[in-house]
Subunit: 261 residues, 2 copies
């Protein structure tokens, strides 16, 4: 796409859109206030397009804009071209990307009572949250329910770690544990110290896996709601696993059990 017909150019640092982009890129919770998401770099933008997401704004650096594939701006409601140094300034990354999309925050989807699900209970780390979303999508889980106190799922760091998984999942965030009452699939709690060994367990399918806080694990109240309790054998005797590693193991076991049927 070498023509820039229809694109507006930004060359002032004080432009209001740039101010918003800086907030969205650098403050994990800013999207909740601004109602928009910043998707940086071609990999994530392609993943969004592949799922028919329509960007509100396609943003390009001045030097990248002439070589940008047409599909990246054709789908967008608006196209904006930003001076290179200003767009670099927006990014929270060490290697800023020369393009990105602004998306409207998706409306919260209805909870599917029978879908294979993952429940995040006050998970703190953005990288862990993104990695779990990626594993959930890979292993055929349809929805992720993030209880209040969990990292903001549409934050840039979670989006990067999710590698596009966000667009293939129903993401229900900021909700109380009471919403779990409407799930008809059994709740399976992971624990570092109790329950059946995963490698011997008969896993229910579909089910909803509970993944807990990095330090504290799944809360006692939530554990009490679960019908199944699972732990992962650690022959090396370490005290615990990273929660995203534990989630990968459990979600794979669920997926593999299904494949073996």
């Amino acid at each position: 796409m070498t023509s820039d017909t229809g694109a507006s150019h930004i060359s002032s640092r004080d432009n209001p859109l740039l101010k918003d982009l800086r907030k969205l890129a650098q403050d994990p919770g800013a999207y909740r206030k601004l109602g928009r998401i910043w998707l940086e770099g071609d990999h994530l933008c392609r993943a969004a397009l592949a799922r028919s997401v329509k960007p509100a704004i396609a943003v390009f650096s001045e030097s990248f804009w002439p070589k940008a594939p047409a599909e990246w701006s054709i789908g967008a409601i608006k196209t904006v071209v930003v001076a290179d140094s200003l767009l670099r300034d927006v990014s929270g990354l060490e290697s800023p990307a020369p393009m990105g999309f602004v998306l409207d925050v998706p409306a919260r989807p209805e909870l599917l009572p029978d879908a294979p699900s993952v429940v995040l209970d006050r998970l703190q780390d953005a990288g862990n949250a993104g990695s779990i979303l990626r594993s959930a999508a890979a292993f055929g889980f349809a929805q992720v329910i993030a209880l209040k106190g969990t990292a903001a799922l549409w934050a840039p760091k979670v989006l990067r770690a999710g590698m596009g998984a966000h667009f293939g999942l129903r993401l229900i965030e900021g909700v109380d544990a009471d919403v779990l009452d409407s799930l008809r699939v059994p709740l399976v709690a992971t624990s570092s110290h109790r329950g059946d060994w995963l490698h011997k367990a008969d896993l229910p399918h579909p089910c909803a896996w509970l993944m807990g806080h990095e330090g504290q694990g799944v809360s006692a109240a939530l554990e009490a709601r679960a019908s199944h309790h699972i732990r992962i054998a650690q022959p090396g005797g370490e005290e615990s696993l990273n929660v995203a590693a534990a989630a990968a193991i459990c979600l794979h076991a669920s997926g593999a059990a299904l494949l073996a049927e």
Copy 2:
């Protein structure tokens, strides 16, 4: 420990030890030049002590020092107390810890030809490297071999993600793939697109798992050395998994196979 007998105090920002600590805390490869490692926070320091590591220097903030457990300085060759604001300045963390250890970089251990192992092939991300070390230790792997081009394993971010696993593993880093010739255990390559399905595979034990670069996977040359090739079924149809998630799944499957014997 309320006495500070034997501790030296630092109150100048230009103190040479503080300069070194800042480098060690903030530059992932600094330990290779300086020959020392910075271990920040009580969790990692306890993990080192539990494995009988003797710190070269125990470092405390002035306000924390009076309440620091005696064991933390008794084992150290030297104890240093630093003005609170200066120690905060050392840290690369959002919430700097009030204590840490300086360790000498361990001598490179001999490679054990028959040990269950993990081989890292140009793995880039520090968080992934640390998470894989943690999973390796949990699932009974004895050594990790990091080929040239892999993230520096004793960097602060890898240490934090490893959560103490470093001290229970033989870590052999910065080596050429030729060292793998001396392994007598079979090499098992992970792939996103070829090989046997993990959930149906007969895994050799002990073995050495090859985990590759985040974008490129295991190199073709290394894949060609492997006697087994394994991939992970992804019923959700995503293109690939995070490498630390894939490693967790594979290493757990190896460990579980052993437990089931």
